[in-house]
């Protein structure tokens, strides 16, 4: 069973590995590039395989043994083809971010210290995640009530999988995109139904967010800054809890930070393949949760403005095209899902409940004050001062205001934070109830991106 689970996860990740070289390829700086590459490979693999699984279902297939054969053959062929292309290529593609040979060849004591403490942080986080996951095998509320429930329908109902979206289950957020339920259902088709699958996926998504963050920061600001950013993320209590509860907010945060790391890696050369991979990761984020669409729109807008400012409108339009190429498969699948299977984006309001009109909600200053105050209070690690610690450490590491101003990750992360706070202010649901049940999770989504922007803007350490 374990071998099949490994096979099911490893084959798409093998394909992702070949694509991840465009973000943390051989030319990338820093000893954490390998960690980032593994993380991106996992994220790309999960995203790709969820798309192909959905297409299989839509064309009339069911998640049965024939799927396992077709799926493994498909990814084995893609992986082998990419491998051959790589070997035939005369030169490895180089990341735009490079460092001198002499600097790369010598690791300092500080780098060793950073790597050792980071490894300790990862080990402790893995311990915490496993320990907490063991207590919540089915995950937290959103995981079992929505995501894993849908995965059970997809696997158990065979060709009748669309029953998961019937009116009887309208309470269960049937408008959620399907990346996670499909990933769980796909793995269950390989190994049989076991709670180990969503548990392992939840842990892997949590650690891959940290992996991408560390590598993304280290590429631009050095190993120490990368380690600090990663340790802060792994030390954020809500992030570990949400990861062990298998909430979709952590995968969304992971995909978003990976996309932003890719777009930052595109550098002044703005390599089309790297930008397209960033677009694909943004697409996967939108296919994970609808907030991912807002995050993607913010990332695209920020990227466009920054490129237009530095390279002109024509270049920005060209890059926008490459982003669209990468995001197109996920966007297409999202459209098919909402046109052919489930039209709603949010669950309907309960009978008998009358929400204040949109005008009243917009014009109520108290509502805005409550939404922003409570959302701030419930932001990641706020109760123990994690954001203040992050800012303090970034200043200690020599964060540069000029770099912050042109950081796509920071703008996107902060924009997403503000966007979600506005969403709460305008929610038709009772505000306090909605904040109490969702704000803490949603505030996690931009957190790794904000850390990437903050610590990626600290001074280069070589």
């Amino acid at each position: 069973m374990k071998a099949l689970l490994v096979l099911g996860l490893a084959l798409p990740a093998w394909c992702g590995w070949h694509l991840s070289r465009w973000v943390f390829g051989p030319g990338a700086q820093g000893r954490f590039a390998g960690l980032g590459r593994v993380s991106v490979a996992f994220l790309v693999g999960v995203g790709l395989s969820s798309l192909t699984t959905f297409l299989w279902l839509v064309v009339g297939g069911a998640l049965d043994p024939s799927f396992v054969v077709a799926d493994s053959l498909l990814f084995a062929c893609i992986g082998a083809g990419s491998e051959l292309l790589n070997r035939k290529g005369s030169r490895e593609p180089k990341s735009s971010v490079r460092m001198s040979d002499s600097a790369r060849s010598q690791g300092t004591a500080l780098d060793t210290l950073s790597a050792s403490l980071l490894a300790l942080g990862f080990a402790l986080a893995l311990w915490s995640l496993t320990d907490m996951s063991w207590e919540h095998l089915h995950g937290g509320w959103d995981a079992w009530a929505f995501l894993n429930q849908r995965a059970r329908f997809l696997v158990r109902a065979g060709h009748g999988w669309k029953a998961a979206f019937g009116p009887d289950l309208a309470w269960s957020q049937v408008g959620y995109p399907l990346l996670l339920p499909l990933s769980v259902a796909r793995a269950w088709t390989y190994v049989g139904e076991t709670q180990a699958v969503p548990l392992v996926l939840g842990i892997a998504f949590t650690l891959s967010a940290a992996g991408v963050l560390v590598a993304g920061v280290a590429t631009h600001a050095g190993c120490a800054a990368g380690s600090v950013a990663g340790l802060l993320l792994l030390g954020t209590p809500g992030f570990i809890v949400a990861g062990s509860y298998q909430y979709a907010d952590v995968p969304l945060a992971s995909l978003l930070v990976a996309a932003l790391a890719a777009l930052q890696s595109a550098g002044p050369a703005r390599k089309p393949a790297t930008i397209a991979l960033g677009g694909a990761l943004l697409g996967f984020a939108g296919w994970t949760k609808n907030e991912g669409i807002l995050a993607g729109a913010l990332a695209v807008a920020t990227f466009w403005v920054l490129v237009a400012r530095s390279a002109g409108i024509r270049a920005a339009l060209r890059d926008l095209g490459w982003l669209a190429v990468g995001a197109a498969p996920s966007a297409l699948v999202w459209l098919v899902f909402h046109v052919r299977i489930e039209r709603s984006l949010m669950p309907g309001l309960p009978a008998g409940y009358v929400a204040p009109s949109l005008r009243d909600r917009i014009l109520d200053p108290n509502r805005w004050a409550v939404a922003f105050r409570e959302f701030s209070r419930l932001s990641p690690g706020m109760h123990i001062g994690v954001p203040c610690l992050a800012i303090g450490l970034a200043i200690l590491l020599g964060v540069r205001s000029r770099a912050l101003v042109v950081s796509i990750a920071l703008w996107t992360g902060v924009g997403l934070w503000i966007g979600v706070a506005i969403f709460f202010a305008l929610t038709p649901w009772p505000l306090e109830w909605h904040l109490r049940t969702a704000a803490e999770r949603l505030a996690l989504q931009p957190w790794p991106a904000i850390l990437l922007g903050l610590f990626g803007s600290t001074r280069v350490d070589r």
């Binding site: 735009s96 971010v97 490079r98 460092m99 001198s100 002499s102 300092t108 500080l110 210290l113 300790l120 942080g121 402790l124 986080a125 915490s128 320990d131 089915h138 079992w144 009530a145 894993n148 429930q149 059970r152 329908f153 009748g160 999988w161 998961a164 019937g166 009887d168 289950l169 309470w171 590429t219 631009h220 050095g222 120490a224 380690s227 600090v228 802060l232 030390g235 209590p237 570990i240 809890v241 930052q264 890696s265 550098g267 002044p268 530095s310 309960p350 409940y353 610690l389 450490l393 590491l397 000029r402 042109v406 950081s407 796509i408 649901w429 009772p430 001074r459 280069v460 350490d461 070589r462």
Partner: protein, 208 residues
């Protein structure tokens, strides 16, 4: 030696030093290296071995980075220790017992048989957890959907809690019975949440 090409600062104004850094950053760097700012070559030595080699002068004082990493690691260790050492429940809770009972229904009761999941409160009418007891009941109903998937558990309003007479909706494999009139003839504390199949009570819990 390959020149640096920017990276995270790829979107700056393109005015760069020969080493690839924006000129303003270079000025900031120069200020840090000005007389009186401290000689970094003398920092960080331990027993003759240079912990932070002189080459690091190019980027500034390494002690700041070491302090930042140690502080961040200490923080992560403390938070992880608190998580791992928290008080854990020693025995399975009601939710787990309920899951097991539902799992028995799923695996042992033939499809097409009727199963009563008697839950106080009308799950279709409760979304915001007006009372803790009601919210718990609704969770039980949702949980039945999860465990019994892909069978659909339909809400079935009744007017009293005790032994309702279920009327099976067409095609339903399992049936949920709730109390649609909890505000009027609602079951008070002491009523029971039951899971019954084939005359056998699989799960029973006193409502609070």
């Amino acid at each position: 030696m390959m020149p640096r090409q920017g990276g995270v600062h790829a979107f700056s104004d393109g005015v760069r030093s020969p080493h690839g850094r924006p000129r303003r950053a270079l000025r900031d760097f120069d200020r840090r290296q000005a007389p009186g700012a401290g000689d970094s070559s003398s920092r960080g030595t331990r027993g003759g071995r240079q912990l932070f080699p002189r080459g690091r002068d190019v980027t500034g004082p390494g002690w700041r980075e070491a302090v930042a990493v140690v502080v961040a690691a200490a923080f992560a260790v403390i938070v992880s220790a608190r998580t791992v050492l928290r008080v854990k429940p020693s025995s399975p809770g009601e939710e787990e017992r309920y899951d097991r009972a539902l799992e028995r229904v799923r695996t042992e009761v033939p499809h097409g048989a009727s199963v009563d999941v008697l839950v106080r409160g009308d799950p279709t009418d409760v979304r915001f957890g007006e009372s803790a007891a009601t919210a718990e009941d609704v969770v039980l109903w949702y949980r039945a959907q999860y465990v019994l998937a892909p069978s659909i558990v339909r809400p079935f309003p009744v007017t009293a809690c005790d032994a309702p007479e279920p009327v099976l909706p067409g095609g339903a494999r399992y049936l949920l019975a709730g109390d649609a009139q909890r505000s009027g003839t609602a079951c008070g504390a002491g009523s029971k949440v039951l899971l019954r199949a084939g005359g056998l009570t699989l799960f029973e819990v006193e409502a609070r």
